[in-house]
């Protein structure tokens, strides 16, 4: 039954209808109901002191050599550490091409991430907010880290958007960090396109540490050519509402995608990750690993779909999502889905939810470790498995520190 819904204030401000719980992929995240006031697209005055403070507070501060900084959706040249945004300054030989594109508005059908001809609502929203962003092109083996950082300052409620395009050419490799950090009440819409050429390798680390009042809505659309390798890790710990979509499509054989993440949520935080891994060609491998820790009234959701198309033989696709609920009122929902049309494949998923294992806790305590410390150790070990996928030692160490701080503040 389709009932014509009266547009909400938020929908009026965005000029579009928002996804709601009657839509299968949004059953656990009713965006229409959650965004309960208008978030207009307005320019806000930037307070340099706040920017400096927030930047310094980033758990990953100082790790990346090159940094493109956006403040409230606008490029911030002063805080960016890329010497300048001109190919002449970072010569083509250096292997990094970067350009800032303003108001990228075209709706790219490639961003749909589905075959039903309907644009993803998060991409439509992003387009309607006229996002700025960077296009990064890596053409050789780049060992320095490049960070794209978005900072939201504490201003009036508003919507800001970012759209980045990252291309790793055939045979090239790179590591990028995307950091989202902020203060105040806002909607952050982010779309990241990842294009991996033949034999390309990309390590991508995303840290979502938005303000406690923020709504973080992001979409990743990745394509992997032959022999490409993608290794992705997302740490989700900020925002009141977090929805992260990802679509990963194998278009060339022997490619490999490792997608992992951790949630560290408390209070009334709500985080929903919805991934589609699409094996369109044979001989590709995908691994998804999510470790979700929820305390207080937090709710974590993991939806993952692995599609193996006809003829995509020898696909190896595994998915696991595990939740640790630290309070009786925390929640976890999961929908690990397989859609398989080829017979010579190895696919599977595992999902678990539960409290800290009392046997583990007793064993640690019987060796003299006090209860609180034993719990921390077990929680750290639980999420640690996902952190292990971060290859860069500095980034991993910084993220582990962040997690330890989070656990200490419990």
């Amino acid at each position: 039954m389709s009932i014509a819904l009266q547009p909400t204030a938020a929908e009026q401000a965005f000029g579009m209808s928002l996804p709601h719980r009657r839509m299968e992929e949004w059953r656990w995240t009713d965006l229409r109901a959650r965004l309960d006031k208008p978030y207009p697209s307005i320019d806000t005055a930037v307070d340099e002191k706040s920017v400096a403070r927030i930047m310094a507070a980033s758990p990953l501060a100082g790790i990346a050599k090159y940094r493109a900084v956006f403040v409230n959706g606008k490029f911030d040249a002063t805080n960016s550490t890329i010497p300048a945004l001109l190919p002449s300054v970072i010569p083509a030989q250096a292997g990094i091409h970067l350009s800032i594109k303003e108001n990228r508005v075209q709706s790219d059908s490639r961003l749909r991430g589905n075959d039903d001809g309907v644009d993803d609502p998060l991409v439509v929203l992003n387009t309607s907010l006229k996002p700025e962003g960077v296009t990064l092109h890596f053409s050789s083996n780049i060992t320095v880290l490049v960070e794209i950082m978005h900072i939201a300052t504490n201003a009036a409620p508003r919507a800001v958007a970012l759209r980045n395009h990252i291309e790793v050419a055939a045979g090239a490799s790179a590591t990028i960090i995307e950091t989202f950090i902020g203060e105040g009440d806002y909607v952050l819409s982010s779309v990241t396109e990842l294009e991996l050429g033949e034999g390309a390798r990309l390590d991508r680390i995303k840290l979502e540490w938005e303000s406690a009042k923020a709504n973080h809505l992001s979409q990743v659309v990745a394509t992997l050519a032959k022999d490409a390798r993608l290794n992705e890790f997302t740490l989700t710990s900020g925002a009141a509402l977090n929805r992260q979509n990802g679509t990963y499509t194998f278009v060339g054989q022997n490619a490999d995608a490792k997608i992992s993440g951790a949630y560290l949520l408390n209070g009334k935080q709500h985080a929903d990750t919805c991934l589609v891994v699409d094996h369109k060609v044979p001989h590709c491998t995908s691994r998804e690993l999510f470790k979700c820790v929820m305390d207080d009234h937090a709710r974590g959701i993991f939806q993952g779909k692995v599609i193996v198309r006809k003829h995509a033989q020898k696909t190896d696709g595994k998915q696991s999502s595990h939740a640790l609920l630290l309070s009786e009122t925390a929640e976890f929902d999961a929908k690990p889905e397989l859609e398989i049309y080829a017979d010579d494949v190895v696919c599977g998923h595992g999902a678990t939810s539960g409290d800290i294992n009392p046997d583990h806790l007793f064993y640690l305590r019987s060796r003299g470790i006090p209860e609180a410390e034993a719990k921390s150790l077990l929680i750290a070990a639980f999420v640690g498995e996902a952190f292990d996928n971060v290859e860069n030692d500095d980034v991993r160490a910084a993220l582990v520190n962040f997690a330890e701080d989070w656990l200490r503040q419990k």
């Binding site: 039954m1 299968e24 006809k310 003829h311 033989q313 939740a323 609920l325 630290l326 309070s327 009786e328 009122t329 925390a330 929640e331 976890f332 929902d333 999961a334 929908k335 690990p336 889905e337 397989l338 859609e339 398989i340 049309y341 080829a342 017979d343 010579d344 494949v345 190895v346 696919c347 599977g348 998923h349 595992g350 999902a351 678990t352 939810s353 539960g354 409290d355």
Partner: protein
Amino acid sequence: MADQDTIDLVKTIEVDKYKYGFETDIESDYAPKGLNEDIVRFISAKKGEPAWMLEWRLEAYRAWTHMEEPTWAKVHYPKIDFQDLYYYAAPKSMAAPKSLDEIDPKLLETYAKLGIPLKEQEILAGVRKQGEKSTLDDDGNEVTAGRVAIDAVFDSVSVVTTFKAELAKAGVIFCSISEALREHPILVKQYLGSVVPAGDNYYAALNAGVFSDGSFVYVPPGVRCPMELSTYFRMNAKNTGQFERTLIIADKGSYVSYLEGCTAPTREESQLHAAVVELIALDDAEIKYSTVQNWYPGDAEGKGGVYNFVTKRGDCRGARSKISWTQVETGSAITWKYPSCILRGESSRGEFYSIAISNGRQQVDSGTKMIHLGKNSSSRIVSKGIAAGRSDNTYRGLVSAHRKALNARNFTQCDSLLIGDQCGAHTVPYIEAKTSTAIFEHEATTSKISDDQMFYCMSRGLSQEEAVALFVNGFVRDVLQQLPMEFMAETQKLIGISLEGSVG
């Protein structure tokens, strides 16, 4: 060895694989074609139902007219014209309920041909003669089948219920639901629609409006039902929907095991089957419900076949109650079926064991829901989906723990096997944990029979099809063992038959 049995069986299979596809030439009494309130009144009048029952039906029918056909399942079929169906068909000779001796010999012959002898003292057995040894017991024990009481439903009416007298001695009521409405109206009124409300979903509402018969079981407190109970559903009449309704109540501390079997003639047109089954288990009661569903699946090109839209739900209403669903789904062009458990009682337990085999153009979307509401409730799901030919086979399930369902436990194992590269196997599990004290574990795998395994078997002299039957029997073993003895032989045979033509 059971596996050798299957192999031998596969060898002897004839080209026409659906051996239940014959038609019984019997004159039937039809309600006028189409569906409206008058048809609902007609059915209710035919059954001589009390006024409240007619009201209940009309309310359901009216709700149905405002509902839309669900589209979320992964099945595709042409729109059903609900006005182009008969909603009531009964053999003319069945004007009034009769004793076994008075039944139309054609009907007895039909059931005999299906391997369902209705004469008391005979047994339900797919392949075995009475007293013959079962070769199925893994421990090498000789097993002879026990007696089974049968309610035989032919199109819209119950033909006969066997062993009624003996069951009555134990206090067990086993009869058609029409009879129950006449003889035990208070029990029916108390429980009917209490698990699957009249307006629960599109097909359940349709069923509530027009259901014509089905089985009713009541097991009194503390009674262990002395024999297996069984209903055998047969769809015969053309263009006729079958809408049966089963209601089973296990009172405190009782136990009952119930089996259900289904077949239909081979027809070019599709037939509609929309059943509702409600189970209620009170304190310490246990219900074991097993189904072997072998409706006509349609031909290799997808012509004909039964649309099987079924709502089955059990309510573990009492503390320590247990409901166990075991299903073997090999038939039907389309299966839409989710036998579920509401685990309301403290320490109640729900189980779902399923084998779903699809071949040809069959589409299966089946699974279960385990809704944990009570403290210390536990559930277990073992689903084995086998897709062959050009079929699609989907497991869809929900496991949820309410905030008050402290210490709820679920274990789910959900495996798919694909045979050939033209089919699809899908898994759509929903997991909702609203308390940290709940421990849920879910595992799913998809696999195929490897070339090495195939080669190994063939080098030992097995044909490809024999090897496939061997593997499949191994693959579904965990679930097969849950079936009552009486159904295991039939099931193993069905597995071989269902997968005919899936390789090579």
